[in-house]
């Protein structure tokens, strides 16, 4: 009888969190196995991590096709959640592939590295599924604290510990703001459940109360830090540059997608009643983020740092979509994140491959003449740069197109003009990378032997960047379905608004 009760409880409540649970169990397995094995079998641990993440990506489908609160509304399980479960698991698995030869080469502690990678992934998944303010906070922190340590994990490199420390200090600072916002929102609406908050804010008297406005502003600051929006971006370039390259990839792709997943759900799905208030703030944030990101990126010689500013700029484009709000914009942002994730992962994979054995460097000079020595790598890098630049028919172009046209439809003409100008500026620094590889002469370099894992990651990134861009229909459908499921609106409505252009 007792086992029956437990079995039923497990079955009903655990299916929606199967994917994060698998990741968490894998993390514990890595800790137990790794501390038993010692450091010699770093690659074995890597494959264990990879298989856990692959399993989690499959388990994500257990959440498809439902729209139901789980754990008394703490989590929301729908296609949106499933979309991000899957995206996050795939991103993390790709990061593992980048790490397979990087971790032993830099003599990073592999048990801790993979366990932290997995716990960061759990946090990201929870953030994407969050249905109340506690889970938003817990997911964000599980993710962030793990990534702080990962950024500082190369203890012999002083830049790494500096990166981790700066990331930590500003991250913890922003957590304070986010929490204060959460507290005020809870005080004003009397609930921590997003559904109930959304319902309470339907009354215009409450929506205009100073407690709500202050809470909203604090939460915008908190999330602004996490998604690296200007002027809350000060940690980004240092953290990206100093962290080990695969960790940088995780920050640029996983952390960013998860933070936007939570941010988007919170604002677009549950706080549309306050759009009059946050729309203006996001407008300014988006404009600043795009412009500062792109302008400062022009001056960078270190490709990792350049990609950090590029990540800031892309956060700006995504904020343009969020400012517009509505079904088409929400779906466009999901699609954008998809294309952005693979192009960025690919770019970091190339950097991992190019980093030298002695004196690892990622400056433009280090990429010099790559086309002669490593034509495949150079071609791949060029492809990713073109996608980030937004050149048709790659994924980056289609994503930008959808996001900007959604904003245009919502009437944000000037913001879109600014975004288009910024895209033009950005071509310069992406093109510089291509010029360095194809035109400049390079020094003799001794590359690390490349393991098949890295090549697989590169191949996947190349294929995804091309396929998602050339034939966007199925992915658009996916994004529209995911957003519609979260917003509780008809899928056909989102799709129609989306494909109107």
């Amino acid at each position: 009888m007792i086992s029956g009760t437990i079995g039923a409880a497990l079955d009903a409540s655990w299916r929606p969190v199967l994917a994060p649970a698998v990741v968490a169990i894998t993390a514990m397995a890595v800790m137990l196995v790794g501390s038993r094995l010692g450091e010699e079998d770093s690659e074995g641990l890597g494959w264990l991590t990879f298989s856990g993440l692959a399993l989690a990506a499959l388990c994500a489908f257990a959440a498809v096709g439902r729209h139901a609160p789980a754990f008394a509304g703490a989590l929301i399980v729908d296609d949106y959640t499933a979309f991000f479960y899957c995206l996050i698991a795939v991103c993390a698995a790709m990061v593992v592939l980048l790490s397979l030869d990087y971790v032993p080469a830099l003599e990073l502690p592999s048990t801790e590295y993979y366990a932290l990678l997995l716990s960061a992934t759990v946090g990201m998944m929870l953030l994407a599924a969050a249905g109340d303010l506690i889970i938003i906070f817990l997911g964000l922190e599980t993710m962030s604290i793990s990534v702080y340590v990962m950024a500082a994990i190369a203890r012999r490199d002083p830049r790494s510990s500096e990166a981790g420390l700066k990331y930590f200090l500003l991250g913890a600072f922003s957590t304070g703001f986010l929490l204060y916002g959460i507290a005020l929102l809870y005080g004003a609406t009397g609930s921590i459940k997003l559904e109930a908050i959304s319902r309470a804010l339907q009354s215009s008297a409450l929506a205009a109360s100073p407690l709500v406005l202050l809470g909203l502003a604090m939460m915008l600051i908190g999330f602004g830090f996490k998604v690296a929006a200007v002027p809350f971006h000060a940690w980004t370039p240092d953290a990206y540059e100093g962290a080990p390259t695969p960790v940088t990839a995780l920050m640029a792709v996983g952390v960013k997608s998860a933070a936007f997943a939570g941010f988007l759900r919170l604002l677009l799905v549950y706080l549309p009643a306050l759009h009059a208030q946050w729309g203006g703030a996001l407008w300014v944030l988006a404009a600043l983020t795009m412009s500062v990101g792109n302008l400062v990126a022009l001056a960078q010689n270190n490709v990792k740092r350049m990609l950090a500013y590029s990540a800031i700029a892309h956060a700006g484009y995504i904020l343009v979509g969020m400012t517009a709000a509505g079904g088409a914009a929400g779906a466009a942002v999901l699609y954008y994140l998809l294309g952005y994730a693979f192009a960025n992962l690919g770019a970091f994979a190339v950097l991992v491959a190019v980093e030298r054995v002695e004196q690892p460097g990622t400056t433009l000079a280090d990429l010099g003449g790559l086309a002669k020595g490593q034509p495949m790598l150079a071609a791949a890098m060029a492809l990713f740069m073109l996608s980030l630049m937004g050149l048709p028919p790659l994924a980056g172009f289609v994503g930008k197109f959808y996001v900007f046209s959604a904003a245009l439809q919502a009437g944000y003409v000037w913001l879109v003009v600014l975004a288009a100008l910024n895209s033009v500026i950005s071509t310069y620094y992406y093109a510089r990378v291509i010029v360095a590889m194809y035109v400049n002469e390079g020094a003799e370099r001794k590359l690390r032997a490349r393991r098949p894992g890295l090549s697989v990651a590169l191949a996947v990134a190349i294929a995804a960047t091309i396929i998602i861009g050339v034939d966007p229909r199925p992915y658009v459908e996916m994004a529209a379905g995911a957003y519609a499921s979260a917003a509780g609106i008809a899928r056909s409505g989102v799709r129609a608004a989306f494909l109107a252009h």
């Binding site: 007792i2 009760t5 437990i6 409880a9 968490a24 514990m28 800790m31 137990l32 501390s35 038993r36 048990t111």
Partner: protein, 117 residues
């Protein structure tokens, strides 16, 4: 209000006694400072090294391990208070929680966090 009055009296009296003793010492006692008197007191021996000694990092490790169980208690306490209401499912959930922390402890022990030097 009346119930708090005796406490206020005690606090006032304590403050008066302490203040009187400290200021009497200040006013009446002779003060002739010298370098020898300014030294840290180490049982009459000349002091060796600074009093601002750094502690071994080992203490830090132990503090972190303590933190794990400290927090465990914080989260188990509410469950313990309402243990009957949650029944078997609650027991299983708490068991999972403790099991996760056990993994952390096993990891820490295997990594030698508790080994004496």
């Amino acid at each position: 209000m009346a119930t708090w009055f005796p406490i206020a009296v005690i606090i006032g009296f304590a403050a008066f006694v302490v203040g009187a003793m400290v200021s009497a010492n200040r006013i009446l006692g002779p003060r002739r400072p010298s370098p020898v008197k300014g030294q840290a007191f180490e049982c009459g021996n000349p002091p060796s090294g600074s009093a601002w000694a750094r502690f071994s990092v080992r203490f830090y490790l132990i503090a972190i391990l303590f933190l794990v169980f400290d927090v465990e208690v914080v989260l188990l306490y509410p469950w313990a208070v309402a243990i009957r209401r949650f029944g078997t499912v609650g027991l299983v959930d708490a068991g999972i929680f403790v099991a996760v922390l056990m993994v952390a402890l096993i990891y820490a022990v295997r990594r030698g966090a508790l080994d004496p030097d």
